[in-house]
Amino acid sequence: MTDETVTEPLGPVTTLATPIRLDFEFTPGVAQSRFLRGLEQGKFMGQRCPKCGKVYVPSRGSCPTDGVPTTEDVELANVGTVTTYCVVNVPFAGQSIEIPYICAQVLLDGANLSFMGLIQEIPTDEIRMGMRVEAVWVEREELKPSLASVRYFRPSGEPDADYETFKEYL
């Protein structure tokens, strides 16, 4: 080895890995706690806006359009309608479901807002807008105050809902 090789420039540093780990404790709040306690009992609890009368599930504590607390609890059905959906075929960090899978907007009977749910027990090419689905829960003793209590939704076997009945929720 000569001195020349020692003084040879090493080239730019282009990457510097600096891992960041932060832990947080979430606070669900009053309204979401009621929703989560419902899940623990195997049911969907929504809340009604005292001003416009719309039922939100899960409620974050306020009516998003009126800005007032949603105080009245409303128990919702275990069945609902797929308003729209997509089939996820892209892997990402933290993903726990085997791809491809159906990610759908489900409008529970009695609610005025759909929420995102996983659809299983049906080939991905048979899902359609308007399909009626029901929630499949974990075993009674495994119920927790968490969305993990709902394993997924599956076709309920009822006839599809008419487009007119859910088009305003798209």
Partner: protein, 384 residues
């Protein structure tokens, strides 16, 4: 009484998947120096700096304006940081414009950026939240169901999305700064690309880019630069809640109200007739026909017909995204500002290969969140 505001300098980086040759400071400086040079100004001529970017978690720097202040010549000056989700690049430019039109400053540098390769934006968007199902798989997973709703509502044939994907990538071949330069792009190539979020294929989605955009805005008495100024004829912002009963996510009212506001200021009553060129935030192909309707370029349900007829193509009567748009370059925080910047370049006549001849009035639009935050401006070659 509001003062007139003009764009007198523009700058942008070469957008790439990874800009490993520069730090974050180097990235924003590259765009800012180019904007200053275009405006024929130096750092000391600038009164204030307004910076914007998407969530801090994308790079892992909290309030990065603190670290970036010296790189942007902001020491001793007011420096302001905006964050309005995906529309941020647009709303950052609007805050800068208001600093001029309010008469508070004469020359403002505005910058927006994202260095997506410094972190994993897909991860940052899908951080496990204890009260939500881990289903989302990034922005595509959120928007794909709404695209399906549009297809159902409008009866649009499924190839429309592919047409937009091809058109914008062809335009990108005219733009040396664009991230994607797909010389062989055609309908078949899009169709053969992987289905990511059915109905969205890989080539119908935006790339993930590192990049920055910058503009120098000026009051009328301080106009400078190598090209004529682009005059701001109107600015508007609108927001609506993410989720509520009866929300129209395909054709959000916030977008319609925002365009009505900005058109009113700019004296536009027939956008298709009066707007020469538009840069509109289209991160997924189908958002072109959706925003054509939302922005009032046609009647409800007819957006896809304009795309199909080639009206939005480079040689169409309303060229959209001649720069290649978000589908060709997506440094998230900067993507909105690039729309605003590109239309300023058009009315200044400095867009080079993707210049639309004689462009006099142009619309820049950005949106963000769950199609709920909108920012827009109309610029023109004539004084308002």
């Amino acid at each position: 009484m509001a003062e007139r505001c003009a764009v007198v300098g523009v700058g942008q980086t070469h957008h790439k998947a990874k800009r490993e040759d520069v730090s974050i400071a180097g990235l924003v400086r590259e765009a800012a120096k180019m904007a200053l040079a275009d405006a024929d100004l130096t750092w000391t001529d600038i009164d204030a700096v307004v910076i914007g970017k998407a969530p801090d978690m994308f790079e892992g720097n909290m309030m990065p304006e603190l670290y970036l202040a010296p790189a942007l010549g902001a020491v001793g000056k007011p420096m302001f940081r905006v964050h309005t989700a995906g529309s941020v690049g647009g709303s950052t430019a609007l805050v800068a414009a208001h600093l001029i039109s309010s008469g508070i400053h004469r020359r403002v540098l505005t910058v927006a950026y994202e260095k997506q390769s410094d972190s994993d934006a897909m991860w940052a968007l899908s951080v496990p939240q204890p009260f939500a199902a881990p289903l989302l798989a990034g922005a595509g997973g959120y928007f794909a169901p709404h695209i399906r709703a549009y297809m159902r509502r409008s009866g649009a044939p499924e190839y429309i999305g592919r047409m937009v994907a091809v058109k914008d990538r062809l335009n990108a071949l005219r733009n040396p700064y664009a991230h994607l330069h797909l010389a062989d792009i055609d309908m078949k190539m899009v169709e053969d690309s992987m289905m990511l979020w059915d109905p969205l294929r890989y080539l119908e989605a935006c790339p993930s880019s590192d990049g920055a955009a910058a503009m120098v805005l000026s009051s009328e008495d301080a106009v400078s630069g190598h090209y004529p100024p682009a005059w701001v004829h109107g600015t508007a912002m609108r927001s609506e809640p993410t989720m509520f009963a009866g929300r129209d996510q395909v054709n959000p009212r916030a977008g319609r109200d925002c365009s009505a506001d900005v058109y009113g200021q700019a004296g536009i009553t027939n956008p298709r007739e009066q707007i020469d060129v538009a840069e509109v935030y289209v991160p997924f192909s189908w958002y072109e026909p959706m925003w054509l309707e939302n922005l009032g370029f046609c009647d409800l349900g007819d957006g896809w017909k304009l795309t199909e007829a080639g009206a939005t193509a480079f040689d169409g009567d309303i060229p959209w995204n001649t720069s290649g748009g978000v589908l060709s370059s997506n440094p998230i925080g900067a993507s909105g500002m690039l729309r605003f910047l590109e239309v300023a370049m058009q009315v200044r006549g400095q867009a080079g290969e993707h210049q639309i001849d004689g462009a006099k009035v142009a619309l820049g639009q950005a949106y963000g969140g769950g199609s709920q935050f909108f920012s827009m401006w109309v610029v023109g070659s004539e004084k308002p």
